[in-house]
Amino acid sequence: MTATTLHHLTRGRYRERAAHVLLFFCGTLSILTTLGIVAVLLFETLAFFREVPLFDFLTDTQWTPLFADKHFGILPLVAGTALTAGIAVCVATPIGLVSALYLSEYATDRVRHLVKPVLEVLAGVPTVVYGYFALLFITPLLQTVIPSLSGFNALSPGIVIGVMIIPMVSSLSEDAMYAVPQSLREGAYALGSSKLQVAVKVVVPAAFSGIAASLLLGVSRAIGETMILAIAAGQQPRLTLNPTVPIETMTAYIVQVSLGDTPTGTIEYRTIFAVGMMLFLGTLALNLVSQWIKQRFREQVG
């Protein structure tokens, strides 16, 4: 156009380049975060394994790094995590799936619009609040039914974690069911099926991969849960499947050490990173498998 234009175009070129570079760095920060997590965990874990043999770590049945007689077997912590996550999944799966089925195949739009946001609230409650609920309401309540239930146990937080992940299982499964083409349902209806038969025999199998992916994500979330367990599960690592006694999970152990005054650079300090590494690998594996299943599902349904 004119000289003004030319001047602006030149300035614009510099500004565009500057914007591009700046935004590129913002974009790469997430990669740096992942690298940071891996680097930090690896660094301390390798230092840990210089003092503790990997074999002992994976097979010893006692976890007592903070006591005089030190054992570094991770199995009790893994058992504690698995137990509470297992209980959580037992609670969340039936409730989540039935809710998802109902909301997807039966509920009217009005009911769906009312119920879904309220379910989402369950996912938004801070975990310390759930911890309070587990310790001071659910545990005493369960003790009236199970007198031998100890004050700290795996059952109560397990149930509460289950309630917390219901929205995750429910809404992801519902998405999977919603994606099933209407034509499949119509085919079944045309053969004289009832709504329930269509739901159970057609929709659920077709949405199966999506449902499985959602369950895996729920397990991953349960495994990574910290505060509910730090509050209500106890601090006694023990290799057991008994839900009525105190246990300790991987996450709660990290909290326990962080609350104390363990000096940095010691073997006790390094244990939280070794445990953290196990936790990270476990949840990463579950998330990746879940994504892979969802990808295959997307290809199947088209």
Binding site: T2, H8, L9
Partner: protein
């Protein structure tokens, strides 16, 4: 009739990824004339016109070979800034796409990007562009109302005004009337004939009667290739190619 060439295309080939969209196209568009591009769906009309202002550059995987000369300069030569090109070759799209902003700000957007800030100058530019697009009388009292409140035909004229505000030399129109009703279409066709006095225009249309009404030269594309190109009157009354004749007479497309 004094005729100079505004745009010349030489051996233009274009690909979307692995699919070839344009094959060995060569044609010239004259200054202050309207060139129409017609052809059945998928023949490459839109792809072609979008090569002329390099807006296809924004498509990932799009590749071009060949030359597009504007006033003698190859637009695809290395070092040529696409942004400068778009200030001289403007475009109006198929579906009117005004910004969800006031009418004034729509028209003033381009000039503001060029660094024009003085209120008086912007006001004059906005008024002039809206007058050229035959929209001024209808919107002069509501310049600060949202552009989305206008009718489809008015929105398209607004898009024309907006394109004219940066004072281009060429105006590319990609099926500008296909989303509009016949009355709005008629008004825009009148407008184009009026704008011809000062602007070179290339119009893509799937409406042959429109091409016949409005253009001076017509190019007929098929499957990414130029089949025939010549004065509109000749193409529509005495086409040289049989395929052209079949298309014109409605045997296909």
């Amino acid at each position: 009739m004094d005729e100079t060439t505004a745009l010349e295309v030489h051996d233009l080939n274009a690909w979307y990824g692995h699919t070839q969209a344009l094959r060995n196209m060569s044609l010239s568009m004259m200054e202050r004339r309207i060139t129409a591009v017609i052809g059945p769906s998928g023949c490459g009309k839109s792809t072609f016109i979008r090569c002329l202002n390099r807006i296809n550059d924004l498509m990932p995987g799009f590749r071009v070979a060949g030359r597009v000369l504007f006033k003698g300069q190859d637009l695809y030569a290395p070092g040529v800034d696409p942004i400068e090109i778009r200030l001289r070759i403007g475009m109006v799209f198929q579906k009117p796409n005004p910004f969800p902003k006031p009418i004034y700000d729509n028209v003033a957007y381009g000039p503001r990007l060029c660094g024009i800030k003085e209120r008086a100058r912007l006001d004059a530019l906005v008024e002039e562009s809206l007058k050229k697009a035959a929209l001024w009388d209808e919107v002069k009292d509501k310049l600060h109302h949202s552009a989305l409140a206008l009718s489809g035909g008015q929105q398209q004229r607004l898009c024309i005004a907006r394109a004219l505000a940066v004072e281009p030399e060429v105006l590319l129109l990609d099926e500008p009337c296909s989303a509009l009703d016949p009355i709005a279409t008629g008004r825009i066709e009148e407008l184009l004939l009026d704008l011809k006095k000062n602007y070179t225009m290339v119009i893509v249309t799937h409406n042959m009667q429109q091409a016949a009404r409005v253009s001076d030269t017509t190019a007929f594309f098929m499957l990414g290739q130029l089949v025939e190109f010549g004065p509109t009157s000749q193409i529509f009354t005495n086409p040289r190619d049989k395929v052209t004749e079949d298309y014109i007479t409605g045997r296909f497309g």
